[in-house]
Amino acid sequence: MRVVIVGGGPAGLYLALLLKKASPRDEITVLERNPPDATYGWGVVFSDRTLAEFREADEVTYRQITDRFVLWDAIDVYAHGERLRCGGHVFAGIARTALLEILQRRCAELGVVLRFRTEVRQPEDLPPYDLLVGADGVGSTVRSWHAEVFRPRITPGRARYIWLGTPRPFGAFTFVFRQTEWGLFQAHAYPYAGRMSTFIVECGEEAWKRAGFHEADEVQTLRRCEEIFAEVLRGNPLFSNNSRWIRFPTLRTVTWHHGRIVLLGDAAHTAHFSIGSGTKLAMEDAIALARALQTYEDLETALEAYELERRPAVEAFQRAALQSQRTFETTQRAMRLDPYRLTLYLLTRSGRISYEDLRVRDARFVQRVESHLASEWDEVRLPCPPVHLPFALRGLRLPNRIARRPASACGALDGLPGQAQQRALCGLAARGAGLVLTEILAVSPEGRITPEDAGLYRGEHGEAWKRIVQAVHAEGSRIGAVLGHAGRRGATRSRRFGVDLPLTEPWELLAPSALPYHPDGPVPRAMGREDMEAVREAFVRAARLAAHAGFDLLHLHFGSGYLLASFLSPLTNRREDAYGGSLENRMRFPLEVFRAVREVWEGPLGVTLPASDRARGGIPEQEALAIARAFREAGCDLVEVTAGQTVPDEDPTYGRGYLAPYAEAVRLEVGIPVLVGGGLTLSEANVLVASGRADLCVLDLEGDGFVDKSPPSLVS
């Protein structure tokens, strides 16, 4: 077989040597436009797991690579004039030049044809081949010949960054944050040779311009960066290597192969540098492709197998990388965190390190964080896991950060709660939740979702809740009443059968606009002024009843497509009066209701808000934040973030902690305490609280006894 590989980077060379080693009779040619000793970039990083794969694929290069390695196991964060170190993260770095040298030598030994200074512009430039490999980087020429098949999509990041080097030796993977007169600048630095370190400088577009980088030449750029990071560089210079400021291009392609052509590494996909995986992914691609070509006779099948094996792994990395990229693009908002929370925030940015992992990696670091968090509370004498810290909210003291709520409606009659509610709520309290929340309590009979919903709209409801509140207090928990109005999602059957299944004879529904929730559902009435007043007064009455019942906290549910949420979203609010259109108008009625309740309720008052509609044309992120800000200014003490259910045909994403990114945005950007749920376990809750992403966590995945561990049986 004749294989032509365009691009003599780590991926191309590694593939060449693996193929030649496996079948010495094959003709393997690598075409590289640069001379053998030219290279860009400084150091590359591998994890111990990748190294194990290298060892299996080719012992010779593995030994040479590991001989030249710099190993380190710590991550340092410099911020607010302090340095914090967390250990136990094994990394290995090597100079890119050294890596290329090793691979080139091995290729030559095995008999791979290496042609340097060979530029390939069009297919006619190529020698004859049975397989053509595009290993020519993110701007791949090979890919461009069949752009309509590969359909490359490049998404540039929002931040600017430049790849520099420095002779300042670093003892760890280092993140540096510097607040300057022009804005926030950050550096990612890591060692790779006896003395040299990679030093990547990153900043937002505005800070970049304000600092004059857009019109600075190479020397000016280096001097200014040295100035910004003088404290950490300690007199060492920064070097450039044809370095330019760019915005990180994340590349995706719909397929990685076409006929006898296959893409490798950066030519097929890229992932943000902050998880340090570009070269690693590229070389893993090479291993998988070489293996597939040996396993399958048929070329098409082999290329398909290669893509099938690698694509899920690469996409998982791209997801983690995107999350990491977003973190670094928005670090400005994390600057309100103290160094301890900030360090934890950075360490857990891609969601792949759990709280337990951190403790295993560096118990002393976790202890220092816990001591720091404990020092903020007089009554906490000993360091403890973050969720066990108390929390204060407008005079209310919660014993810990765990909130629980019952799964759903427990079967009330005409809104009247009974034994079922008491059992459910006391059960949650008995299991240690500091705060117990009720199901959504309807503020009026028409505001119920199903006829089984409990409510808080008659005197006897208040009395009944009073008994339940006392029972929950007896268990040592605090209890919050969640008030809501179903709006156009009302008058449905018991949720035992499913959601949003209309009653045969639905009561009249209210909504901002006369749009049914489902096309086959009942059409609500567009609310007039009197309807609004009635709803507002219903909330006020419910708040009074809640006060009478002795609830510790009141929470208004303005999410999930219920009445007030449908005022907020442009998808469901089509009004042309003062209550529709602009964001200010769409917020008007929800804020009116909130303010009216705020006037009669003295204790802590929270709101559930939609952070996203998860549907095209829905509330954009900036609006969601503006909404949270408006409620904070109106006297809201706590925001619970939700997403979706605004419209039924949405685009959901489930997973552990799927609401956490919204919580983080609201808490850090708006500066208000945040309650978050969405598939959290205790471990995620600890991370969210300790890293300053959330204040209270609803645990709904853990310890609810829903794992059926009864022995298998044949008979039902």
Binding site: Y296, T301, E304, A305, L308, A407, S408, A409, C410, I449, R495, R496, F497, G498, V499, D500, L501, T504, H518, D520, G644, Q645, P648, D649, E650, D651, P652, T653, Y654, G655, R656, Y658, G677, G678, G679, D700, L701, D704, F706, V707, D708, K709, S710, P711, P712, S713, L714, V715, S716
Partner: protein
């Protein structure tokens, strides 16, 4: 965890009387359910007709579609068929729904492949209404109709299961893969505000005995040919020894599965007894 067994109705070349005898044996074995797969462009029986035949020779086992590619079917006729089957089996029907994985089936049936997801959502909502309105008889034997399960790996599938069904039907794989799917099903269930927990069903393929293995692999390679090289991974999960069955069953029970359906990859009637024997050793 309950354990069900598949009918051999999805294996090419199987004679009708074998499907019926298989159902009798499973009833006696005793498994909790009998399941069928659904394909159009393949030598396989119509799933609902196969279950109807099984209904006639059984009294106890539940009859399950695992899964039914319902967007291929007219909703009103489907309502009639499912209700009839529920009546014929005296209320033993459980319907697993999905959009299917093969575009070919849609082309063959002349149904647009696009929009299959929203059509499934609409069917899940409409079927119960049709039964309730009672214009299309008979009414299902189970009050409100048979329980619904939804299968699939997309986020939309979890949303559909949580919103319009009684549970989630996992598409197969090792117990850990099931565990991940089950977790997403629970998260979606919670988000939808449903009471209790979703019913969680899993499935796997078995072929017990030395001579069965080769034939089973041939069948799996053929049936899953459309997945390309992925087929080898599916073949690799085939349960061919009692040891593998016991491990698989225990793994699923530990991962929170409520009912595990084991599908045959060879149509020999003695497979029913071999499987019953192996399963009896679990736990």
């Amino acid at each position: 965890m309950r354990i069900g067994i598949g009918l051999p109705s999805g294996i090419p070349g199987v004679r009708g009387d074998l499907v019926v005898r298989w159902a009798e044996r499973a009833e006696a074995a005793p498994f909790s359910s009998l399941a069928v797969i659904d394909r159009v462009a393949y030598d396989s029986y119509d799933p609902l007709l196969a279950l109807a035949a099984a209904a006639g020779v059984t009294r106890r086992v539940r009859l399950v579609t695992a899964i039914l590619v319902s967007p291929l079917r007219n909703t009103v006729l489907l309502a009639k068929e499912l209700a009839s089957l529920d009546q014929l089996s005296a209320g033993r029907l459980v319907v697993g729904f999905g959009v299917g994985a093969r575009e070919e089936d849609y082309a063959m049936a002349g149904v647009d492949h696009r929009g299959r997801g929203s059509r499934l959502t609409e069917q899940l909502r409409t079927l119960r209404r049709i039964w309730e309105e009672g214009k299309v008889g008979p009414p299902p034997a189970q009050p409100g109709g048979p329980p619904f399960l939804v299968g699939g790996f997309a986020d939309e599938a979890f949303a559909r299961a949580a919103r319009y069904a009684q549970g989630y039907f996992h598409g197969g794989g090792p117990p850990r893969a099931f565990g991940r799917g089950a977790e997403l099903a629970r998260i979606a269930w919670r988000e939808a505000g449903r009471p209790g927990e979703p019913e969680l069903w899993g499935q796997g393929y078995f072929a017990l005995g030395e001579d069965a293995r080769e034939r089973a692999i041939r069948y799996m390679r053929d049936y899953y040919a459309f997945t390309g090289p992925l087929v080898e991974r599916i073949v690799g999960q085939l349960l061919t020894t009692p040891q593998a069955v016991v491990q698989f069953v225990e793994g699923y029970a530990e991962a929170g599965c409520h009912e595990l359906v084991l599908m045959p990859a060879v149509p020999d009637p003695d497979q029913v007894d071999r499987l019953a024997e192996a399963v009896a050793c679990a736990w």
